[in-house]
Symmetry: C2
Subunit: 422 residues, 2 copies
C-alpha cells in the first residue's frame, strides 16, 4: 500500500466535487481533518480511562453507554399494543454490511411468541408420500448450510410514495432491511425425504405466532434455495427473528420468510391467505391488484450523509451507502452530487455477493454550497433502480409496497441534510 | 436442487463411517431423524405460543431466555479482580462463521475503560515529518474499508500443552478465537499523511486502558493491511473490544491488535515492552525464547460433536468445525473418525476468504462403538496443522503460546465426548 506522494491526487469524476471510485484510496492527504502538530513538542498524555482499573468481563456484552441512540425505532400498527408493527434498523448508525442481531429489523403481526425449544415441532405434510415431523434435535442432524443474505420487508421505504417528502432519518425511512449470516437446513432435503407429489406446485408455510401468519411459496423456490434457519450471525435465532426456527427465502419479500415456523403444507395451489390477498399486493394505476410480487427490486440508499448526520466545514467527505437486489449481485452503483446531472461510479466493497447488501463509497469534496446527493444501483441482470417519477408512473398512485426508487438527500449551506423528491 | 432418489446414497470416504465431502448434500433420507407419520391422519395442531398475543418489540434485542448457556466463560488471571483475564467464545454453541459481538472473546490486562467518544484522540507521532492528532469525527472523514477477519489470542488452546488432557468444553479450550466484519480506516492512509521517516521500521501502538498495553508492529504490516477499526459487525465497537477505536492486524496474534487505541509512535526499533518480552514469547526446547511470533498458525477444531454435545442413538450425524490460518486462505480440511488411520475431505463453506474462519462439515454414520474424531487443516501456503506430538517436539515442553496442534475428541459407546491426546 506504499504509494508515491504524486499519486495523492483527488480525481474529479462528476460534477460538484464528486471524486468517485478511483480516488477512494487517495483521499487522506490531511484534507480530511487530522490536526497537524508540526513544530509543537508532542507529549504522550495519559488518558483519563487509564488511571484506574476498568470494568469487569461480561458473560454477554452490550454496546457502550455512550452510543445511546443505537436502537431500533419501533412503530406500532395496532394502537394500544407494542407487539404488532415494525421496528427499523438504524441504517445511519451502522457501517459495513452485517446487521448485529440486536438491531435486525422487526415486523410482527401478533407479537413475539415465547417458544420452548424442546416443545417445538415442524410438521411437513400435504401432497407428500410420507408426512414427517421434526424436533429441533432431528433438524440438527441434517447437513447445515451457511449463507449471508439480506432480508427486506416489502413495505420498506413506503413512506416515500407519499406526496410530501417525509423528514425522518435514513433508518426510519429505509430501515426495514437488514443482513445476517444464516445457518440452517436446506428445505429441499426435507421435501426429498417426504416425497413430493408430482402435481404439487406450492408449499404453504405457517408460523407459530398468534397470527399463525402464513404465506404460499412456489415449489420451485422451496426446492432451490429455501433455508430452514436455526442460527443467525453465528448464534441461535433471536426470539423476534423467529426462534427457534424460521424460513428464509433469499431475495423474496420479507414476510414470506415465515418466523416461528411450525408447519409446511405441500399443495397444488396457493393458500390465498390474508397476507397475499388483503395485504402485500400492489394496487396498480389501472386498478388491478398485482399479487405474488416475490422478488425485491434493485435498490440503494446513501446512509451517510443523511438526515441527522450533517456536515461540518466544507471540505472532503465520504459518501457511504448500501445497495442490493433480490435478483442477484449488485453490478454498479452510480452517485451524483448535482441532483442527477452527472454521475460517478462508487467503489463497491468486495466480495460482492449474491443477494447481499453491498457497501458503496465515494469521496466528495463539498464546496459549502447546497447540493443534492443521490445513488442509483444496477444489478447483474441489467436492472437499474428507477427514479421516483418512473416508479410512480409504473406503480402509482395507490401502491406503496416494493418501493425501490432513487433516494435524494439535499445538503443545505449549513451542512444539514433533508429528504427531497428530486 | 431436485434430485433422483437413486442419487441418495451415502458414499463412505474413510474408515469408521466417515462419509466426507461428496455425501454432504445427500444425507437426508429419513436417516437423520424426521419422524414418519405415514398412514396417520395428520392434523395441524395449534401451538401453545399462538394462543395469545406475543411480547412487544424491543429497541435492542437479546437472545431467547431458553438459550441460557449462551455465554462467554470468563477466567480471571488476577485473583480478586474481574477485569483481568480471559472470557472465551462458546464455540460449541455457535454455527456458521460470524461471532456475535456479545460473545466475541475478551482478553484484558486491566479491565475495560469507559471512554467518552468526544474526548478520545489518536496521536500519531515519532519518526514522522508531521505529527497528527485525530478526533473520531476526523477519522470518519477518511475512506473506510470493510473486511471480515478472525482474531485469535496467542494463548488460545494453551491448556492442551499440559500433560493430561483437560476435560472442558470446546469453547473453554479453544474459544479465544472469534470472527467479525470490521470497518475502519487503513492505517497506511494516516502514515502517508504524517510522512514516515525512511529510517523507521516499527510502529508502537498503545491502548488507553489501565495497563497502557503496548505492542510493536512492523512498519511493513502497518503499511500493508492494518486497520483502525471503528465498527464491528456493522455497529460501533463494543467497550470490551476497544470502543471507540482499536487496531486490527489481520492474521497476527490477538494482543497486537491494540484496543482503546490512543497512540501510535513511529520508531526505528521495537519498544521491547512487557507484552513482547516477559509475555507472549515462546520458550523453545533448546532454552531460547522466540520473540515476535506474529502470524498465527494453520489450525482447526471440531465444534460438534464435542464435550457436552454428545450423541444419541447410533446413526447419521454431522461433524462441524472451524478452520483458519494467519497466512491466508484455508485450502483443505481432512477429518478422521478412526483416530487418524484414514482421512476424508470435509466440505468447506463458500466463500473461503483470506484470514477468515472457514466452516467445514462432514457426514458421519456412527455405529455405536467408541471412536476418535479429528480434523486437520491445510492452508494455501501448503502449511499443514501439526499433530500434538509434532507440535511438542518443535515447541515443547515449556512453551504454550501459539498452540495449533490437531484436536482429538473421543466418542464413548454411550455417546459422551471427551478430550484425548491421540
Amino acid at each position: 500500500m506504499r504509494r508515491d506522494a504524486t499519486d495523492d491526487l483527488l480525481l474529479p469524476e462528476a460534477g460538484n466535487g464528486l471524486c468517485g471510485r478511483r480516488s477512494l484510496l487517495r483521499a487522506g492527504l490531511g484534507l480530511a481533518g487530522g490536526l497537524g502538530l508540526a513544530g509543537i513538542a508532542v507529549a504522550a498524555e495519559r488518558p483519563p480511562g487509564s488511571l484506574a482499573p476498568g470494568a469487569g468481563m461480561r458473560s454477554y456484552g452490550a454496546p457502550s453507554r455512550h452510543v445511546a441512540d443505537l436502537t431500533r425505532v419501533g412503530f406500532s400498527s395496532q394502537p394500544g399494543t407494542d407487539g404488532s408493527g415494525v421496528s427499523r434498523t438504524p441504517l445511519e448508525r451502522l457501517e459495513g454490511t452485517i446487521t448485529p442481531n440486536g438491531l435486525f429489523f422487526e415486523r410482527h403481526h401478533a407479537g413475539v411468541p415465547d417458544i420452548h425449544p424442546d416443545a417445538h415441532r415442524l410438521l411437513l405434510h400435504g401432497r407428500v408420500r410420507r408426512p414427517l415431523r421434526f424436533s429441533l434435535a432431528a433438524l440438527h442432524r441434517y447437513p447445515l448450510l451457511t449463507r449471508t443474505w439480506f432480508l427486506e420487508c416489502s413495505g420498506n421505504s413506503a413512506a416515500l410514495a407519499a406526496d410530501v417528502p417525509p423528514q425522518r432519518r435514513c433508518g426510519e425511512l429505509h430501515g426495514l432491511i437488514s443482513q445476517s449470516e444464516f445457518t440452517g437446513v436446506p428445505l429441499a432435503l426435507l421435501l426429498d425425504e417426504a416425497g413430493v407429489d408430482p402435481a404439487a406446485r406450492w408449499v404453504v408455510a405457517e408460523g407459530a405466532d398468534g397470527a399463525l401468519l402464513n404465506r404460499s411459496v412456489p415449489l420451485d423456490k422451496a426446492l432451490d434455495d429455501a433455508l430452514l434457519v436455526l442460527y443467525q450471525n453465528g448464534e441461535p435465532l433471536r426470539p423476534e427473528n423467529g426462534y427457534p426456527l424460521r424460513l428464509l427465502l433469499p431475495g423474496f419479500e420479507g414476510n414470506m420468510s415465515i418466523k416461528w415456523l411450525h408447519r409446511l403444507e405441500v399443495a397444488d395451489r396457493p393458500a390465498m391467505s390474508r397476507e397475499e390477498t388483503a395485504k402485500y399486493t400492489d394496487l396498480l394505476p389501472d386498478g388491478q391488484a398485482r399479487q405474488f410480487t416475490f422478488e425485491m427490486g434493485v435498490k440503494s440508499v446513501i446512509t451517510s450523509p443523511s438526515p441527522g448526520l450533517g456536515l461540518g466545514a466544507p471540505g472532503l467527505y465520504q459518501i457511504s451507502g448500501l445497495a442490493w437486489s433480490g435478483a442477484g449481485r449488485v453490478r454498479r452503483v452510480a452517485v451524483s452530487a448535482d441532483g442527477g446531472r452527472s454521475w460517478a461510479d462508487a467503489a463497491l466493497e468486495m466480495p460482492v455477493q449474491d443477494r447481499c447488501l453491498t457497501r458503496f463509497r465515494a469521496a466528495w469534496r463539498w464546496n459549502g454550497a447546497p447540493a443534492v446527493l443521490q445513488s442509483r444501483a444496477e444489478d447483474e441482470t441489467g436492472a437499474v433502480q428507477p427514479t421516483r417519477t418512473e416508479w410512480l408512473a409504473a406503480n402509482g398512485p395507490r401502491s406503496f409496497y416494493h418501493y425501490n426508487a432513487v433516494q435524494a438527500w439535499a445538503v443545505a449551506a449549513d451542512g444539514s441534510v433533508s429528504n427531497v423528491f428530486a
